[in-house]
């Protein structure tokens, strides 16, 4: 299936947000997403989750004859596959460009850096060597495949144990895992790729772009480094011009990030080792949580609310001042108190103001919230009309009628306009809000 094109307004929104140093998921410019590493029951099988991007890595080994020009070295074979479940755009014949690029980068990162000691993979020189095969499958694509894949590859290789072999003279004995414990591979260092996405011709840079950010980026710089700050591979794609100091800065950032990630990897490997030794449960069934559709669980999203206060002040400053609300209750007798004085009685001029109501359809709804305290009085009348007749006097009455609590237990609300309120309405120049009496129409 072809990818749905990104709309112009979404593209503009993403670029504007990046200009204001905001990312959609709340990360900072140099932040990585959460990296989660889980191991399977077999040695050499792992799943790495970088945010929502998931890569499955599996290492296997086989005894083969070596290459003719490298008779004393083992063979390494890397393969990254973009499975169709990763993204709708990945189809069996379709993703060749991206696939070739990722595979090539992975090979350069892992093979050319000589992180695995291939000499130690030799069993009988010229006849039998170990062929180590690393298969990586992309399970979900949410951006930055190369980072996740490189982490998965190196973790799987570090986790893997090959069967033990002993050579006595001409005899080669291959021990099964039951006879002798399998032996880990000899890994010199862990090269890890760090991706930098550039926007607006190199003005803005983001580490670990997610899928949306990748769609709008101008160029990508990938630096593969190990924790000893040795650069294994650098690749710049997208055709942007990068300045020397930009590349140097990126390499410094990459150094910091790689140190963090390597520490994470070591911890994960140690944990798994401990669990296996203690005889506890290990494997994907334990480490990957059940994701049920019917259960509600969300990860904490870091949200920056520091500028919320400023904006709220702007809104309050521009809004009209709320009308006066008398908050003190006035106690007339025991059991009867009055809070506020209600608003004017509009029932007389409903027909005239019907047309005006339609014009004001688009009026601010924010201010209605302020006057809800006053309007609840009118609500009561509408609901109350179902159980008892309510005496709603016109503005003729001047005095207030106080009901004795024992005579009339029902709440009957009288609406009066006293002299005080008339003065108040005259002073407040703003037009009184006319609510639409939708309920009354029913």
């Amino acid at each position: 299936m072809k990818e749905t094109p990104l709309s112009n307004c979404e593209r503009r929104f993403l670029l504007r947000a990046i200009e204001e140093k905001k990312r959609l998921d709340g990360r900072q410019t140099y932040d990585y997403r959460n990296i989660k590493i889980s191991f399977g029951t077999d040695y050499g099988c792992c799943i790495v989750e970088l945010g929502k991007t998931r890569v499955l890595g599996q290492v296997s080994c086989e005894l083969v004859s070596p290459k003719l020009n490298r008779a004393t070295e083992g063979i390494l074979f890397f393969n990254l596959e973009l499975s169709q479940m990763a993204a709708p755009a990945f189809e069996p014949g379709r993703q060749s460009d991206l696939l070739v690029k990722l595979n090539r980068l992975l090979e350069r990162c892992l093979r050319n850096s000589k992180c695995i000691d291939t000499e130690s993979l030799c069993v009988v020189a010229g006849e039998k060597v170990w062929q180590i095969r690393v298969d990586l499958h992309l399970l979900n694509h949410d951006g930055n495949i190369i980072d996740a894949a490189s982490i998965a590859a190196i973790v799987a290789l570090s986790h893997f144990r090959r069967p033990d072999v002993s050579v006595q003279g001409d005899e080669v004995t291959l021990y099964t895992p039951e006879e002798r414990d399998p032996v880990p591979l000899s890994i010199h260092h862990m090269p890890i790729c760090v991706s930098f996405a550039f926007f607006q011709q190199g003005t803005y840079l983001l580490v670990d772009p997610n899928e949306r950010e990748e769609r709008v980026m101008d160029g990508l710089l990938v630096i593969a480094m190990n924790k000893h700050r040795e650069i294994c591979t650098i690749q710049s794609s997208g055709g942007i011009m990068l300045l020397k100091d930009q590349v140097l800065r990126c390499s410094k950032i990459a150094g910091v990030k790689v140190a963090e990630i390597t520490e994470l990897i070591q911890k994960a490997l140690e944990n798994d080792q401990k669990v296996r030794k203690e005889g506890g449960k290990f494997g994907f069934a334990e480490s990957i949580a059940n994701q049920r559709i019917t259960a509600f669980k969300m990860e904490k999203a870091p949200i920056d609310t520091s500028d919320v206060e400023e904006k709220a002040e702007e809104i309050i400053a521009e809004a009209e001042p709320p009308s006066e609300v008398v908050s003190k209750p006035v106690l007339w007798t025991t059991g009867t108190a009055q809070i506020g004085e209600g608003i004017e009685n509009f029932w007389g001029d409903l027909e005239d103001s019907g047309k005006e109501d339609e014009d004001e359809g688009g009026s601010d709804e924010a201010i209605i919230l302020d006057s809800i305290k006053m309007d609840t009085g009118v609500e009561v009348t509408n609901i109350g009309s179902q159980d008892a007749p309510i005496v709603l006097s016109d503005s003729e009455e001047e005095e207030m009628i106080i009901l004795e609590p024992d005579k009339n237990p029902k709440k009957i609300r009288t609406q009066t306009i006293s002299a005080k309120q008339e003065k108040a309405t005259n002073q407040v120049k703003k037009p009184v809000k006319k609510r639409k009496k939708k309920r009354a129409a029913n």
């Binding site: 094109p5 709309s7 112009n8 359809g361």
Partner: protein, 293 residues
Amino acid sequence: MAMEMRLPVARKRLSESLGRESKKHLVVPGDTITTDTGFMRGHGTYMGEEKLIASVAGSVERVNKLICVKALKTRYNGEVGDIVVGRITEVQQKRWKVETNSRLDSVLLLSSMNLPGGELRRRSAEDELAMRGFLQEGDLISAEVQAVFSDGAVSLHTRSLKYGKLGQGVLVQVSPSLVKRQKTHFHDLPCGASVILGNNGFIWIYPTPEHKEEDAGGFIANLEPVSLADREVISRLRNCIISLVTQRMMLYDTSILYCYEASLPHQIKDILKPEIMEEIVMETRQRLLEQEG
């Protein structure tokens, strides 16, 4: 800052007692439609073991001797005369590729496009070079289906002043089977906005233009800021359309208008809550039934 929290609630089944005259014959892929071999096979069916079997999930439609299954969730299948709203994905030699939610990208030929100024002449090489000035990747257009190729790809044309590039507005993407086929798909709703109901499921809501621009030919995008009142009407319409879609109601100008009016007592953002959606659509449905019968 006030926050609203709601707990998950089981969704109620759509009540089936509201005005369905005849029960539709619904099938899923693999269901037998009929064992009678006298019928002709239409779309969505295939013959297997002397039975007519459905290959898509939908409702069975019978016209005399032709049986076909109309799928409910499907990509847009073009038919001549349909109005579609699409997005330009590629600019090629002498044509544009338009994404219209169908299996293949639709094609808009340069010769099917009106030149600015309405002149009628053969398109020259300069026109070809200036194509990007008319429509670029990412632009939205409204067009009509001129022809359907044998592989199902659709050829569009904008040979009328009412079609062309779309300016400011909101696009809602729904399933094509929910848009009712009517005489006209361009509606100026009395609530203050206009809507284009594309047959391909792309619905475009935009502020009603003040005066009809005859000479522009639909290429000059009006980029003046839209007023707050218009924006509120458009957002409310968009939320109403979303609520109609979740309740699987057919979309046409009357249903959208009734839904808009039913939603007026609520705040715009409240319309998206499931309970209020059900309430509004129930009211709309009742009003539509009253209007019919």
